[in-house]
Structures are given as C-alpha cells and as structure tokens.
Symmetry: D3
Subunit: 242 residues, 6 copies
C-alpha cells in the first residue's frame, strides 16, 4: 500500500519531519511518500497562502493517481483543497485537522486545539464546525509562533507545552490537538509533561488512510465527488487541464 503525504507548503525540511512521523506509525506493508508541491508558499499562515497552495497540492494528487497511490494525507492544519482533492483521487483523502479532530473525539468529551498564529484560528473554527465537532472543540489557542520558527525557535517546545497546559485548564478538555503539521514530532513530549493525550494530525491521518484502504473504502463517486468534467483552462493553469 502506498500512502502519499502532501505537505502543501514548499519547505522541504518540514516535509522531511512529516514523512518521518508518518513512517513511524504505519504497518509493515505500507509505504509512505511525503512531498511538497512544485509551486506554493513557503508556509501557510493566511487564507491567501492557503488558496495559493491548492493548485500545487492538486497537481501532486494528479501525479499520485498516475503513480498508483492508494490514499492521500493533506498535511496542513487548514486542510486546504480537500473537496477538490477528493474529486481527483480514487482512494481516500484525509486532512490532518480532520484526522486529529476525529481522533481526539474518540478520547473524551472535548478537546482543545493549540496552533501557531492567532490569525489561523478562524479557519480551524470553520473546520471544526464543518466536520461536526463544534461541540467537542472547546477552544482554539494560538502560541503566536510562526510556522517556520517551530523548527528554529529554541523556546518553541516550552511555549507550546505551556499553551497546551493552559488550554486544558481553561476549556476543561480531555485531550489536545496540535494545530500545525510542523508540530508533528512534539506529541510525546507534551503528553508526558501535561498528562493528557496529545494528538498529531499527521500520524493520525496516515493511520486513518491506512485503515480506509485496508477496509476497501474510497470516496463515494456517484455525485458531488465524481471526477471533474473535462474542460479548457487558460493561462498558467493550463497544465492542470488534462
């Protein structure tokens, strides 16, 4: 089984961490390939960044179809381009916010999200609402560390850990969801520190895709998520059109 993990930003060092986290959890028969698209923003911290990441992401889905990928993980906590990706892909596609929220909802009554910049909170609220977890998602908190500083800021781990501890107290939650693919390797440390389950969406999404492929389950294709109709595209997007 081949699971393609797409980090929609173009920072390959982050893609490498993501790949490592995904590979650490899959079963013996599962291959994981992580990529960044050929075009897109260095990090995704606004609706604008997210919008510009989608064409590259969809290009990677199209490549994955040609390469026989069995399923896909979209490894950005804004879950960009999910509906379009599901139209293109034959196998299942899961976003890391989606996976993390599903996983956290198995672990108790409510969870808190700890994310990077405050300006991304609105998108996370939209996703919680869309997936059905408006009640379970009790709070979304920012540590105000930009995505690309997660790797370089020496205080990042400490600040995020404290934000998680505070979130649990303020929200009365049972679990933490980490709100950025760049936090994928911090789970165990934080969980050990604060004594509650901490969910990373990258690993969760990878295992949920593996589960769906094992179950033979794919996106329903009889209506909204059928393959896009063939049509002409003009300009720089022409290459997407066939």
């Amino acid at each position: 089984m081949l699971i393609k993990v797409i980090n929609p930003n173009t920072t390959w060092s982050m893609t490498a961490t993501i790949e490592q986290c995904a590979r650490a959890v899959v079963g013996p028969g599962t291959l994981v390939e992580a990529v960044s698209p050929a075009m897109g923003p260095a990090s995704i911290e606004s609706h604008y960044d997210e919008a510009l990441s989608v064409p590259g992401l969809l290009d990677e889905i199209a490549k994955g179809e040609r390469d026989g990928a069995d399923g896909y993980v979209v490894a950005c906590f804004g879950d960009p381009g999910m509906d379009a990706a599901r139209e293109l892909a034959t196998g299942p596609v899961i976003g890391i916010a989606e996976a993390a929220m599903h996983a956290a909802s198995f672990l108790g009554r409510g969870f808190s999200v700890v994310t990077t910049l405050g300006r991304t909170i609105g998108r996370a609220q939209d996703l919680a609402e869309h997936y059905g977890f408006a009640r379970q998602c009790r709070g979304i908190h920012a540590c105000e560390i930009p995505v690309l500083e997660l790797e370089t800021n020496p205080d990042a781990l400490k600040l995020i850990t404290e934000a998680c501890r505070q979130a649990i107290l303020d929200d009365g939650s049972d679990a933490i969801v980490l709100g950025c693919a760049g936090m994928a390797d911090l789970c165990k440390h934080i969980s050990d520190e604060i004594g509650v389950p901490v969910v990373d969406g990258v690993a969760a999404a990878t295992l949920f895709v593996q589960s769906l492929v094992t179950l033979g389950l794919q996106t329903g294709k009889r209506g909204e998520f059928a393959a896009p109709l063939p049509k002409s595209y003009v300009g720089a997007l022409e290459s997407f059109g066939s």
Copy 2:
C-alpha cells in the same frame, strides 16, 4: 465609486452579461468594471474548477487594489476564495451566493435555490450553513444545465422557470435564489411567471457593496483578515508573492 466585479471563470461572454446586470442597478456615481482572470477554468462546476479559479481571482483583487477599486463582487455562486480576497482587499468583498442569500432572507421565512448541475449542491449547502442561513435555505435544486449551456440551450429559461415553480411548492418557500452568475438576466421573467420574488446574486452583491462603501464599512483588519504576511512563493505562483 468603483466596484470591480470578478467573474472567476474565463468565459468573457458571461462576464459581459454579468457586467450589464451590475451596471443596470448601481447609482449615478458608481462605476462597475467586470473582468475574468487571465487564468482559470472556462466554467466552474466542481470543487476542482473552483480551486483552480482562485489564484486568478486573487490576482484580479491585487490589480483592483492598485487601480483604486472601492469594493469587489465575486461573481460565481460557489463564492470561491472569499476569505483570501478579504485579506487582500481594503474595501468590502461580497460573493454572489452570499448576497443572494442575505437578500432572500429579507423577503420572508425561507428561500429555495435553483442551480445548474446537481454536483454543485453540496457547495451551496456549505455556503448556506456558513453564512447562517441553514434554516432559511429550505432546498437546493438542480436543473442539470451546464453553466455554458445557459446561454445556448433554447429550453434553458423554460426549464429553470419550471424548476423554480416546483421548488416553491416543494419547499414552501417565499422566494427563489438563482444559483449561477450565468442566470443573472433571468430574474424578471421568472418572477413574472411564478409570482414570487427571484433574487440574482450579481445585482444584489453589487448593491450591497455599494451600500457598504457608502456607509464607510470595510473588512475588519485587526486579526484574521489582516493583509497576508510577506513570504516567498515558488513556481508558477511566484508573481503572487509581492
């Protein structure tokens, strides 16, 4: 006052109709300019088409900022790229689904949407939910005419009118919302035929933008919708990066 109306698909004959409908309703001091982006799909009938229309749409917003546009209408019923557009634009941005649903909610307890292809119904449901009109939006109905056939299919007007008549009966609604910018010029005919108010989002959005500009109201910029942070973009999207 300059209102820029962006038809996110690249079919300029449709853009011309849209421009005409918008110009017909504005006040004497308001200029309307309608455009299609330099890149994008010929029509928008899937999540994939919609995703690929967004970079071109945002490019037009960026141009509008340089040209001094006071406000923007996004003239596709899927309201693509709205959040990103609001980050880029200084003045207000309104989508035509958004405007039409707001307008219809002023006219009674419930409205029905009549749209093109059934596969677009899901997106319209998402929008109704997102804008707060899940209760007011009593049904979304497809006439199964592709967007670009609206101009050429000789039976289009009749089929859409009948779909509207049936929707009112089935849903017990007080008003109709037409679910495609390409239907902008059909309102009066259908309303005369079936005796209920029929809302076209293009004209409604244009007047609501004109209203907000007159009121001095712009998107709040203190948090989520602040201008995107400067950062590097790679690949075909480089031109968006500054």
Copy 3:
C-alpha cells in the same frame, strides 16, 4: 423612491436624528421620511415597551401604504412587529438590528453588539439567533445608559466607545454593531477611535431597503406574509380593522 423610516418610540428628537442619518446615505433619487407613531412609549427598554409600540408602528405602515411608500425601516434595535409589518406592507421592510447584523457579517467572521440597558440583551440574542447569526454574534454588551440619556448624558460617547473597545478584545470580533437607533450618529467617532468597523443599523437598513427596491424585490406574499385576513377588531384597536 420613498423610504419610510419608523422610529417606534414617540420621542421625536430621536426621530429627527434618525432621519438625518438615513438621509445622509441614500442616493439622489431616494426620499426618506422618518416618523414616530401617534401612540406608544417614550422609549423602548423592555419587552413590555416593545409590545406597546407595535400597534402604532403598524398604523404607520398602513399609512405608508396609502402614501405610496416603496419600503420601510423599523428603527428600534428590538426589531418590533417585523412579521406583522411584512404582512401589511407591499414593499420590503427591514429592521435595524437585522440590517446591522447582516452588514456586520459581511465584514469578518464575528461581531460584537454594544447596547443600552442589560435587560435588552435577551431580545438581541433572540434576534441574532432568528436571523441566523448566532455564531457570528460573539457577544452582546450593555453600557447601562438608558435610551433617552444617550442624547443628554455628557459621558455617553466616551462610555460607549470604551464598551466597544472592550467588546472587541473580549470577543475577538472583527466589527461592532451599535445596539440602539439613538446611537446612529456615533459610528464614525467610535470607528476612528478604536480602529474597527462600526455599524449603525439605521443607515444600513435604509440602504438595504433602497437596494431591494432597486432590485424590484418585495416580501413574498404567497403564504405566511400575505395580507392579513379581514376581520373585526373590538375596543381601542377598532381603527386597525379595515
């Protein structure tokens, strides 16, 4: 085009301010007439006051129909008698809470309401819920200044401005809605002070009615909002019965 703005309380000095705010925003072809009813309370600060304002308000709607009004604004933030007014009127009827909440929802993800007395908060919650803005309306805050003191209390502007500033911080909102027709002339000052968009419902409702009339849109009359059935009324209300 004639828009009739009805201030449902009987304090004509407030009606004059309202008229001024409405006239300041309409297009060159639009006439605005503002009135108070012949009967009703001096101010509306309870459900009881609101209930007693409705017969006079409806009387003014009936007069407006005879005088050829094209649309109506109900200029009290409790939006009293709206459903009944829509039955009586041929043209559109919009309440100022309704208009302000719609306008604010175009400006970002969430808004806060700042109103007069705390005891009116419940009504505003009902309206936010009814119009579909339960999620967008993030908080309703009282400055505890009675309606008629808005004009006379020398600290009113300062107190309201501070309440707005605090509301934005507490709720993480993108915009402010002013919760009383008597605050209609404070928008610009407060917006300049706190740097976020501030919405006055009087001006917003007037422009939305102007927009609907321009679009040829009226309340749907095929069901719930058809003209009331003729019937006998007894007592002091007899004059309403024909």
Copy 4:
C-alpha cells in the same frame, strides 16, 4: 390558588370552551378564571392579528396582578406577548404552545403539530425553535379550517382527526399537539381514534402553572424580566402607562 387564563382573541364563546377545559383538570384548591381582553381581534390568524392582541392581553395581566392571580395561561397557540407578560406578572406565565410542546416532549422522541391555517405554520416553527424543540417537533400541518369555523364547521372534527393520523405517519411521531386553543375539547376523541397521545395546550398549560405555583416558582426577576421601567406612553395606549 387563582389561575387566570387569557384567550387573547375577543370571541367569548371560545373563551368559555377554554375555561371549561382548564377547569376540568385542576386540583380542588385551584380556581380558574378565563377572559378575553376588552380590545383585540376576533381571531388570531396572522402576525398582524397577534400583534394587535398583545396590548389587550397585557391589560388583562395587569388586572390579574391587581386581583391577586397566582399564575397565568396565555391561551393562543402563537403564544403572543409572553416576554412582556412575564415582565408584568409576579407569578408564572405559560403559553399553550409552550406547554403543549413541553408535554409532548415527555411522551416520546418526536411530536407533530396540527393547526388551523397554513399561514400560521411559520409562527409555530419559531416557537418550537425558541423553546428548544426544533428536533422534537417533526412537522407542523395545517387543516386549513379558520379558527372561528372550528366551532361551526360540521366536518372540523373529522378533518382534524385525519390530519392527525396522516401527520403521525408522515413524521414518524410519537404524539400529536393540537395547534389552536379552539381545539381544546377534541383531544380525547382524536386520541381514541388514532391511538396516540394527543396534547391540548390549554389543559397542559393550566396544570403546569398549577405545578409551578405549588412549587413556589415564579419568573426570575433579577434581569431581563424585571418589572418594566416607569415611563410615559402617548395616545390610545396611555392607560397602560401606570
């Protein structure tokens, strides 16, 4: 204990039936007085009728306070003027739609409402939503018999019974709520015919008021429902002002 039942329309023959239904269920120590107001519509079948019934209704509440009533029933299925009545009254006030929906929700997972004219359905939907029973209220159905014909139309009982039978089948409900005070005496017949519990709001509200009075429970008066502030009222409503 004195319970005052107010039929907000001015048709005293209907008031007599209502009084009879209320008296039939109360305990030995409870007196029931039913009245119609001195002013108001002959029947309530529109938002307009409802709005015009409220001043008379509130007048009766004020009289009840002077007469020492311990609690009130508002005996019209639109539950007019409830919030204002709760401000005026010391003891509990319950509407018959409110009571009937509460009672029906004790009897299973879902109920259906059968009412008079289709144009009143919207109001019943609002009430179901407001009271928290949007999920439990599975359908609202009109038999299209005007309120005052309930007493005179020889087919009324048969038509209503059939509408109830059909509603149960269509909605999969466990119970029926009768949507008009004028149907108060039909419960037993319909229940016997169709084999499901049938709730009349008049009797239910009367017993719930009796229960609250016995429990020593009154409307909370610390905020929204405190007595209205004293103020001047002009015109025909002057008499309400003190």
Copy 5:
C-alpha cells in the same frame, strides 16, 4: 393516583428525603411511593455507577406495572435508563434533570445547574442537549461535595448556596437548577438567600407526572417506545426476561 418515585441508588436515607419532598407537593388524591432498587450502587457519581443502577431501576418499573402505578419519577439527576423505562411503563416516566430543566425554562431565558462532583458535568451537558435546552442551560457548576456527604457535611448548605450565587452572576441566569436528588430539600433556603427561583427536580418531576396522568397522557407506544420484544436473557439478569 399512584406515583412511584425511584431513587436509583441504594441509600434509603436519601430515598426517605426524596419521598418527603415529593409527598409535600402532590394533590390530595395522589399517593407517592419512593423506593430504592434491590441492587445498585450506594451513590451515582460516574457513568459506571449510572450504568449499574439501571437494571435495578427497570426492575422497580416492572414491579410498579404489576402494582398499578400510574406514573414514575426517576430520581437521579443523570436520568438513567429513561428510554428503557418508557418502553416498560404504561404511564408517563419523567427524570428529575428533565423535569427541573423544563421547569426552569418556564422561569426566564436561562438557568444554571449546580451539581455535586465535577465529573458529572458531562452527563448533565448531554441531558441539556438531548432535551433541547442547550441554549437555556448557561452553565453547569460543581460544588465538589460527594452525593452521600450532602447529608453529613455541615458546610454543604453554605457551599451550595454560594455556588448558586456565583453561578447566577457568572452565567447571567434567571434561575437555578439543583443537580442532585439529594439536594431536594434545599430549594427554599437557597432561593430565600439569593433571591432567584431555585428548582428541585424531585418535586417538579412529581408534579409533572401528576399533570400528565391527570391529562390522560402516556408515552406514545406506536414505535420506538413499544414494549420490548420477548426474548431470552442469560446470567444474573434472567429474572428480567419475562
């Protein structure tokens, strides 16, 4: 009329208090019998305790049916086993959380719950949501006194009273709901102290059952709540099976 009140825990001193509170409010023709089951936990403070209380509770319902009980009260604030009890019983069954929330919703816009241990808050949230009172129930607060210490802790009354006072301030509520059958006798004291209505579910449920029986209303039996199908049960539960 015979109303059977079942305290699902096995602490008979608490059952005696419950019986006293129920008997104090019923009409002259109503008999109240309160019991604890033959098996179950000494107190109910977890989902586990609640689950283990249900078989004994259902056994008491079955006995009640043989003894001709006209209706039942389930006197634990977790409302355990309600759906199953409604399948077994001919007459109405009401839980004390259910009754208290219904009663409180008659008394204003919002209520606060004050309960025993914090770990029971989740269950109360589920119930508020299930009964339709998610909006009305503005907060659930624990005083962290275990159920069985309510009778013995000399500070219990004072601590609960203060928790109620604080809850009203924090939540802006109009009424208090006491979240444990063991608090049934504290209502009057707390209400006198803090000046807001305080609802005890035991007395409320008893009077609501009395009301439903008087109205001739029973659980609808045409679908979900029909008597359970006869089938074999193995193990210690065999006695339930016929």
Copy 6:
C-alpha cells in the same frame, strides 16, 4: 497488541462472525479476541435490551483490563455503555456506530444508515447527534429484519441490498453505513451491487482502535473519564464493586 471486541449480546454465533470480520483487517502484530458477556439479552433491539446488556459488557471490560487488553470495540450498533466503558478501560474504547459514522464521514458529504428494526432508529439518531454527525447522517432506514434473523432469513441479503440502494437515492448520500454488527460480513457484496462505499462498523472500529493504540492515544483521564470512585454495590451486581 491485543484488541478485545465485545459483542454485548449473548449469541455466540454472531460473536464468531464479528471476530472473523475484525481479524480479517488487523495488522500482523495485532491479536483480536471477540466475546459475549456472561449475562445479557440474546439480541439488542430495544432500549431495554441495551440497558440490560451493559453490566455484562462492563464486566468484560474489567476482565480485559486484568488480561492486558490494549483497546476495546463495543460491537453493537447502539454503542451501549460507552461512557462507562471509557471510565473502566485504560486503552481506547470505540463503538461500532461511532466508528462507522466517522469512517463514512471521510468518504463524502453525507451517508445513510440501513439498520434492522424501525424501533432502533431513534437510538441511531441520538448517536449521530452525539458524535457530531447530525448533518452528515442524512437518513436512517430499517429493513425490518430482526437481528437474529440476519443469519437465517434467506432473503436478508437481498432485502438489505435493496434498502441500501433506495437509501442512496432518497437521501442523495455518498456512502452507506450498515446498522448492525450482524451485517458485518455483507459490506463487499452490497458495495459491489450498488456501486457506493459501504461501511461495516466492526472492521472500522477495530482498525481505529489499532490506530489509536499505535499512536499511543488513550481516553483522557483527568476529569469525567477517570476511574470510577470505589463504593459499595448491593444485590446481584456486587461482583462489579471491586
């Protein structure tokens, strides 16, 4: 890794099928043990049956803890006793309705449930609501085949397949959820017949538990789901008390 699958009814032939379906999907390092409790009903088709299945189910959880089980599946579509099971268990516990609804929500916008008897629909509605899938769950349909006839009725597969086909058409869904553990082996046949993804909760829950265990995620134990407090239990349930 040891996953214990508990079929809460006492029909071991059904337990054997369940075990087979679970074992077919797990990874090479995962052991699956399926059991029925020592006490409980032969099948679960009512709230009463479900309530009586819980003590036996919890007994099996307690045994599993002693035997070192890493996680649990509750293999009845009513998801009985879940909250209590999560208090007892160290590792994750997932119900098959929960798992199936989560899985189906990954496959499109909406799913339909096809279950056994109509009287169980209410419970499935409760679960969809509780898990957050009220919007995604578009319909719940009964084929009116009792649980134990699934194995013996020669027309069962055909009737269920037709119910699934019809549900997809009526609800416009993207996927089917099978609403009984006894249907676990029918997925592939039905999916092949009707061309949409069909989810069996037994296999889905097993893989989701395997995923959570691999991720090191357990129920949060800091509040509501902490181990039950030690206390005395009387009667036939005594053995549960320590």
